[in-house]
């Protein structure tokens, strides 16, 4: 027999409620019942509570399984967001490359050989820079 997570939750609650009924009876009647009976009821309520706790663990396990798909989908979206962030950052790279190009152009216009060498090196660095 397979149990669904909601059925497991209902069963866990039923066991807990039963334990509470037993405890209430035990405490209300502890002067009327024998010590042996008192101990038996105490042990019974403990068992009902431990079963309730165990079935809660089963319910959580079933619920975690049900979450697998949306978590995977969201993970994919995170990957997409990270790509977008990289893309935006590469726009900045393009601007820096264009800036280096203009710098080189100004050096050519100014006929400054030393500055041209520096600008070419700078441009080369911008073009080969990893994204």
């Amino acid at each position: 027999m397979t149990v669904t997570k909601d059925q497991a939750r209902e069963i866990a609650e039923a066991f807990r409620k039963s334990a509470k009924v037993v405890i209430k009876y035990r405490e209300d009647n502890f002067q009327k019942i024998s010590p042996a009976e008192y101990e038996l009821l105490h042990e019974s309520s403990n068992t009902l509570l431990s079963v309730s706790s165990f079935i809660t663990t089963v319910a959580v396990g079933l619920a975690i399984d049900a979450m697998e798909n949306p978590a995977t989908e969201l993970k994919n979206v995170i990957g997409l967001a990270q790509e977008k962030i990289k893309k935006i950052q590469s726009v900045g790279r393009i601007i820096r490359c264009v800036s280096s190009l203009v710098d080189l152009a100004s050096c050519i216009i100014a006929k400054d050989p030393a500055a041209i060498v520096t600008s070419v090196a700078n441009l080369n660095k911008q073009m080969t820079e990893k994204a």
Partner: protein
């Protein structure tokens, strides 16, 4: 050197100014998105209640000796790992959204300024105003591009995120974590009442037992408070993302900005409760 006629320069100036004005109207203020996603990230990081759940069988062992506890401890350790992974997917997403909406992501004003300075040095005859406008245009268009990317991501993420926040994760915390703490509360009451009713205890021992019972119940109540606070966190994150999703094409809408700032404030209040419990 003069590359342009006076007329062409005026035309360029007017065109650039018009484009800047148009682009500025398309630009969105992402401060509220960033503030809300950053606070959501911070709030969802408080996952101590998962540890509380995982540790419950070990705590219950003191009230009742049963072989079932060790089996549960092993099962819950694995479950806690899975739950933390799911929560980390939510926090990772909030982190990505915070980065995507951050000013620093498209802060190229320095690069754009360098570019316009270099064009200015070329003495192309383009006026300083025009160059300034071109620089602003670059940054404005980048901001508009950034807003579009935020809108796309929010659109893609909403369904799976809501499925987690409003679905099973919420159910686990609201029903199972609460049920677990309720079981612990019954155990605490039963255990101490049993000891007190057994008799053969001195008055001093009775007082001590009563104090222990009170202390354990207080700890249990604080754990319950943490569960309630975390549920509110999930609800506020879910509400905020739904609003973002519905307004993703108008991220600068005044009501959205107001709502996101207000939700961020409410999240901070829950963070306070979570850090104190």
């Amino acid at each position: 050197m003069r590359f342009m006629t006076q007329g062409k320069r005026w035309l360029l100036t007017i065109t650039a100014s018009c484009i800047v004005m148009f682009a500025a109207s398309c630009t969105n203020n992402l401060t509220a998105v960033r503030e809300w996603s950053k606070t959501s990230l911070e709030a969802t990081q408080y996952n101590e209640l998962v540890d509380t759940y995982a540790d419950t069988p070990a705590r219950l062992k003191r009230y009742h000796n049963s072989g079932l506890w060790d089996v549960q401890i092993a099962m819950r350790m694995k479950q806690a790992e899975a739950l933390k992974q799911i929560l980390s997917v939510v926090t990772d997403y909030m982190g990505a959204l915070t980065t995507l909406s951050a000013d620093g992501t498209v802060a190229y004003s320095k690069d754009v300024n360098t570019l316009t300075d270099r064009i200015r040095k070329l003495d192309t005859g383009i006026s300083g105003n025009t160059l300034g406008a071109v620089g602003s245009l670059g940054n404005t268009l980048l901001k508009a591009y950034q807003s579009k990317q935020v809108a796309n991501i929010v659109g893609e993420a909403n369904d799976p995120l809501q499925a987690i926040l409003k679905g099973e994760l919420r159910e686990i915390i609201n029903r199972d974590f609460r049920a677990d703490l309720e079981t612990e509360k019954v155990y605490i009451g039963s255990y101490y009442d049993h000891l007190l009713n057994k008799g053969h205890t001195s008055e001093a021992a009775k007082v001590a037992l009563m104090e222990w019972k009170e202390m354990r119940l207080e700890q249990n109540a604080r754990r319950m408070q943490a569960v309630a606070a975390y549920l509110k966190v999930l609800d506020k994150v879910s509400e905020g993302h739904q609003k973002l999703y519905e307004n993703r094409k108008q991220l600068d809408k005044k009501t959205l900005i107001k709502d996101l700032f207000s939700l961020a404030n409410e999240l901070r209040q829950q963070i306070k409760i979570l850090t104190q419990s």
